[in-house]
Subunit: 362 residues, 4 copies
């Protein structure tokens, strides 16, 4: 407990695949902010399956309905509740997993945590579908941030062993938009070819494939964050690890920094156009938990979809014997694809929370 994050901007996610609706409550958005529903839906469409043949065949409407907090397209200062109704759920597909749990899926751990009453049809509250309400919160956060010149963008850094190039030292809003417009969210279209092949091969094998996502936030003021446990890294990581399948988060040079010397890793300051900047950005825009005015850059590792068609070994919890399981149904062979806007949403909401808390607001 709890499916909530944030201090000055609180986001509470609710819902299971088998319930009437999923949604979120967003508490802390100032009054008078225009919400562009079309822009929000366009953002949310980026995480929808069915957008391309690389995703699953399920159909989800995912158009949010505001129950409170938004009136005639403008926030009224009170908590925003937005929901998405559930329609296309085939809970029958999921029966039996509490007896023969799917490897690396939450069936077994949910059973340990909640007991037999846990509502796990459609993977319950663990479902990747719960990233849709996170995208509502993040999409609204993005609108507020954009209005203040702050932009959040992400791309597929890798799928399997195929890598996209990294963000340039200064990513731009235009770059973010061009990536978002592509069927596969990459910078280098050449990389997209290899990624598609990795995904198609995995699907053909009844298998799945992992990936990684690089996210950048530009336009942030320096001086945001704190040392120790309330820094920008702590806050971003705590939310990003809330996106299902994320197994690692690194900032700037990240794990590569562990192999570097100080003279190589340190980012020398310089003056450009009368402003302090850095020659390079191995810090990922954060030093001592606080932004230095450079773009904030981080990467998230996304594990391969645990639901695969191949037969897998597991156990029968009632008979207490070994067992074999074959998972029916349609599943994304690469959840990293759909996770790109979700990572943006997580970052946008976490950053807006920090901005509202630390009074860097307009």
């Amino acid at each position: 407990m709890s499916s909530e994050f944030g201090k000055s901007l609180k986001v509470q996610i609710f819902g299971e695949s088998h319930g009437k609706a999923i949604g979120c409550v967003i508490d802390g958005i100032p009054a008078g902010e225009e919400i562009d529903l079309d822009a929000l839906c366009a953002f949310m469409d980026r995480r929808r399956p069915g957008g391309s043949r690389l995703g699953t065949a399920r159909n989800e409407a995912d158009r949010p309905v505001f129950l409170s907090g938004v009136h005639e397209g403008v926030t009224d200062g009170f908590p925003i509740c937005a929901i998405i109704e559930n329609s296309d759920t085939r809970s029958g597909d999921y029966a039996g997993f509490l007896r023969t749990p799917r490897p690396s899926h939450a069936d077994y751990t949910a059973l340990l945590r909640y007991g037999k009453s846990v509502g796990m049809r459609g993977s319950g509250h663990f479902s990747g579908r719960l990233t849709a309400p996170l995208c509502i919160a993040g999409g609204i956060a993005k609108e507020l941030l954009n209005r203040r010149g702050i932009y959040v963008g992400a791309h597929l850094k890798s799928v399997g062993n195929t890598n996209d190039v990294s963000f340039p030292l200064y990513p731009t809003r235009e770059l973010f938009e061009s990536i978002a417009a592509k069927p596969l969210a990459v910078i280098d279209d050449g990389a997209a070819e290899g990624m598609r092949a990795e995904i198609e091969n995995a699907r053909a094998d009844g298998d799945s494939i992992g990936g990684s996502i690089e996210c950048a936030i530009i336009g942030l003021p320096g001086g945001l964050g704190s040392p120790m446990f309330d820094g920008v890294e702590n806050r971003l990581a705590a939310v990003v690890f809330g996106v299902p399948a994320v197994k690692g988060v690194e900032f700037g040079a990240g794990f590569n920094a562990a192999r570097m010397r100080g003279s190589e890793h340190n980012d020398p300051y310089l003056i450009a156009d009368g402003r302090i900047a850095a020659e390079k950005n191995d810090a990922g825009g954060i030093v001592g938990g606080i932004t230095n005015g450079m773009p904030v850059v981080f990467r998230a590792a996304i594990k391969p979809t645990p639901s695969i068609a191949k037969a897998q070994k597991t156990v029968d919890l009632e008979a207490m014997t070994g067992a074999e399981i074959e998972i029916k149904g349609r599943h994304d062979p690469c959840v990293a694809l759909r996770a790109v806007p979700v990572i943006e949403a997580a970052a946008a909401a976490a950053i807006l929370d920090l901005l509202l808390e630390e009074k860097k607001w307009n």
Copy 2:
């Protein structure tokens, strides 16, 4: 703001190098717990410089004094305040850094965040010395955990390009103890040779070197944690990123999972000695944010010490011109060495917090 973490076990860190004392308040430790001060000091000694010629030459006593919450070696149920007095501080060494900020050090970001009144002598509240009170909290947490059969251990996974072997599938308490007893916290003594060479070479060059740390928690019950934003990964990462110089955190296969297929990454369940276990542990003991009963395993990337003897480019914030800086004084060429027990401390405190919160306590 704030130098605090935890929900059921709150740890508040305070202090700067130039103040009278550094310390912590630990609120939530149950009454009646024996605190073995010798064991605590032995644990804290592992992060002290001067323990070997690879560390800095500064002398720090670092013996904690309990002001409250512990009476005759037993907790009395109330908040524990423990302090370490500051003695050997040479604040003069640090003058001027708010004018010509050290690259990849918190001088510039602290100035942006707090203004000119910020207390940055000795790096202020950003100092690595603040990990000592974190070790008090973590050391106490370890004593409580050990008494319940839960053990936390860590080793240097790498220094520069020299790698130690990884933890085995089932690390043991004995392994943790043998690592802790070594001058360099490794599993494979052969790796220690290469690491020493990396560090000595960096020091000889007036430079520093990064490293990475692998940490494991054994004996944890399954079913600990939650989906979404309050999972074991979120909670551990939020605290571990509070250790200065950490730039990445990954669980189980971590970033390597991004290159794997599902059939390779999924951990098949099996029955061993009548208990559910997994054949391997690419999940790092956590699925859906919840422990599955396997060891929890994570790695942290530690950047190279930003303070190096080599001349570095920076800016003069008053003249608004480029500048060059040479940092005097003695500095650890590889902070990863001292960070090993600190990572253990962060993990132990975060895990005890989760256990107290989720009522798995005996």
Copy 3:
């Protein structure tokens, strides 16, 4: 910000009178708890207007719909979202109050706090209607508490200058049920006559009248709570002051204790049926912030409804002149009547939160 309370049981309220729905998210209810929807609706009906001719004539359905967290009448362990659709809202009645604010209503303070975009039709998020979702949370909490032998009951202690008798030293479940079944929630039916007269007279005068509510919680274990800022009094008061119109909260002898001597106020311990108890209960069941096993007893002061038919003096915020205002529409002449179950709900949710947090749960 924020319309949320609780630590281990978080209750987030959302909605405005003019939105599509009002509701709440309840995060932290264990899995496997049966929710009796009829019992919940019966509880909620106690706060409905139209239940008697003493309330307003508005018609509100107020039947909650569960969007998540409850499946086939049983909690599944995940956050519960419950909503009530808005239907009978006549927002036109409220126009203009941001220009000529109603005395002792939130019009003016909302304007100061949120600016002109604040959504105040139907009093927005300040509406007494928002106590309906609090009753959902509290009603569910009551079901869980009842199952563990803990009961929460309240009665109208006073309306205007007419007083009911106080709860006896040991209130019973049967007493709570008999009060709840009465048209006016009193212990002494004689008091009800006088209260009705006070209310009818106020209404006839185009006026309103205040009241007070006494609430008791029985069956609580001793040892619940903490000294200082996390005691039972702190936690209950923080939630009860969230009920609109509450202007005071007192425990046990309360403000009367300020007039007493220690020898009179102290509650001597005694042994009854082999258990420790107290001869009387001026402490209201709480000493040092911690329950002592006696019933927890508190009272809340409810101010008279600020919306009255009589002409009132106010200001015209645009013209910056004095003004007179007449408030149209139907309003409860005595909100204390409807607040009785709301106070029970607030108490039940706050107590369940404490129980879940402090592991006194079975």
Copy 4:
């Protein structure tokens, strides 16, 4: 758990009478704030016993020492730790209370809550002495508030059956200062005579007497606070109930509002000197949880000191029989006297927290 309050300004209290020191950590005070230690000590002296013959005869130095966060009298932006060493503790006086608990004292509830290891000598963490660190936090908060034209003052509203007059509609800084300079904190010196007689009579009888305190905050901006659970009333009450012996908190007309009609209770707005004000202040400056620009006024009920010289009935928890107890030692016959600055401290810290959180800070 926990002895902490606040969101943007966190105050953590630690200590027991029998430990080395008591103190607090204050996290969130901006950098660059001057701390006038003499003013702080003068404020803290107001809660000291021995200041007049009406208090206890114990001697406490209570001069705070800053371990961190304050350098050369100026805050440096990091957490402030301040301690007061314990010297004059006679723990022997308190032996045996865990066997024959003092009526209406925390002995029995502490035992239930923490078990036999609870550290209750000198009343442990429940001791009124713990209000000293609260006064450090509140005294610092007062200095910051005063610098922004916000003042907090309090007076003894009553002792036993003797009442002081109430604050005028617009209390002034000068009034606060004149009250603070008096030996007994009253507005009407005539009331002081009667109060002294009540206290002396109680002491002569081996008894104690209760009292009430009225507190006002002037200079606050309108628009501070929130509806529902994060309003000014909720936040103030949650902290004020943390002051030992407080059994009730009411705002504005408070419990008297329960007896009033709306036409009598509502505060008509008016324009004075071009600003919006109210004709009277039965709302206590707070409507809908939000300040309206009028002084915030509340009262706290303080129970009589539970430690009295008279013999009292209790139980022997080991023999499980009735018992009689006589409490030795010197005790304040009226804790309300010393609680006056403590209530101011609680209010100042809670208000500064709200101001820092809601960005009304300059």
